[in-house]
């Protein structure tokens, strides 16, 4: 089963970290990713650049605008996807995400499969 992990960051928290803490966090996240890569569970991991565009229908036209501007302090800063045996394992991975200890948050979304059971 595949799960998408959305990682919420908080810029205020990041920007207030002491250099040593920041290095520790970056090192821990790299090691975390590497461990998942080695276990053969990591499907992909990317950071998001906070320069989103919004694409919507306005009246009868498709309009692209800057934004959405983030009103809340927390927003999705990166994601990773895993392919694991069950939800328990997905949650175990989520709980061990190092960023949590630094004030981030994480959402675990099961991904749809491409087939279907007997109907």
């Amino acid at each position: 089963m595949k799960y998408l992990m959305l990682i919420y960051g908080n810029e205020d928290v990041w920007n207030s970290l002491a250099p040593a803490d920041l290095d520790a966090l970056i090192g821990a996240v790299d090691a975390f990713n590497e461990a998942l890569r080695e276990s053969g569970e990591l499907v992909g991991v990317e950071g998001l650049i906070p320069r989103p565009r919004s694409v919507r229908m306005v009246q009868d036209a498709v309009v692209v605008t800057d934004g959405p501007y983030l009103e809340s302090k927390e927003f999705v800063g990166s994601y990773f996807a895993v392919d694991v045996d069950d939800e328990q394992r997905a949650l175990e991975i989520a709980r061990s995400y190092p960023g949590l200890r630094y004030g981030g948050g994480l959402e675990v979304w099961p991904l749809m499969e491409h087939g279907g059971g007997e109907l």
């Binding site: 053969g40 749809m112 059971g117």
Partner: protein
Amino acid sequence: MTQDERVEDVLRSLAPQVLGILVHRHRDVHGYSDFARCEDAVQEALIAAADAWPRTGVPEHPLGWLSTVAARRYVDLVRADSARERRERAVLDATPPDALVAPAPDEEPVRDDLLELLLLCCHPALTASSQLALTLRAVGGLTTAEIAAACLVPEKTMGQRISRAKQRLREVGARFEPPPEHEYEQRLHVVLHVLYLMFNEGYSTSAGSELRRADLTRPALHLVRRLHERLPESGEIAGLLALMVLTEARSQARTGPGGTLVPLAEQDRSRWDSAAIAEGVDLITQTLATRPLGPYQVQAAIAAVHDEAPSTEATDWPQILALFDVLERLAPNPVVTLNRAVAVGMVRGPNEGLALIGELESGVLAGSHRLLAVRAHLLEQAGDRTAAATTFQEAARMAGSRPEQRFLLRRAAANRTT
């Protein structure tokens, strides 16, 4: 069948034999062999054959060709792996103890190590997804790229998963030999479950991935068939084979235009494979009469009743319900109860079916799209279209796959129109 497909078939059926030969030849005095290295060598031999044979034709002794090439690759791998100062020793290690009396490649006795290989690949120390991946590669003869494509993960991820699985086997000291008597039944059960998952994974796939479907259902069917030949006395292997054959027989009718799922009730039964149905029905009838009963046999019997019916209405539902009663006693689980509720609905009316699934509302299936879909189906049958539409919609929201979601949305819409 094209030449490429023929080559592929030959390779897949010979892969476990080549691996068995290599693992046997390179056992040390304690019976241990470097399974991981043997497997890598076989994999390289398979790739070499897949490259050469479509151009040159399949050689006269394909097994000899493959085991000779694999043995050479094995030696290469040992050499490459070894530190310079240990090279001499390594070359010695790579020489089989019986090298001087080893038979010529085309005289290699045909061994049947399929069962031992399957037991090793489905070792309980491995996670389910690793068991599946390793079985596909070591026994199914698929390349890492093919397995990755079939499981929809990057090739690198799959490569890592397979090498981690092999490393794990080494760590736990897994040996290439039958497990002790008291573990045998349980270990065989794991093997059958992995093959069942492999088949299901392929079977349940539809939209736009025809390739993926065949990639998994074919090796699963092939392996269970070979296992049945090796252990014809096992009722559950025969049952699993019959179940797969009877399920595969309906596969052509199961996908509509654009990869939509066609449910059993709406399938064009003239597109079912009658030869396969006859084979499956024969097999399960014979097995049920002569072997101790098991869950795969009962599931095959249920599939047989469906396959022999000309339509949903003409299906022998009391028979299906009786079989579900047996299955629930043999292997109680909420999914079986849920399926039984559909049969209860057909035999004793939708309200009885609804009462039965009421009991599941507090269990592990609570809120799942499967439970909601069956509830909606029974509500529709009871004539409560408004509740059916809402429930189908809820089921669609929780659906685990896109084709299922589309199907459920369609049913919701159908119940909203007057």
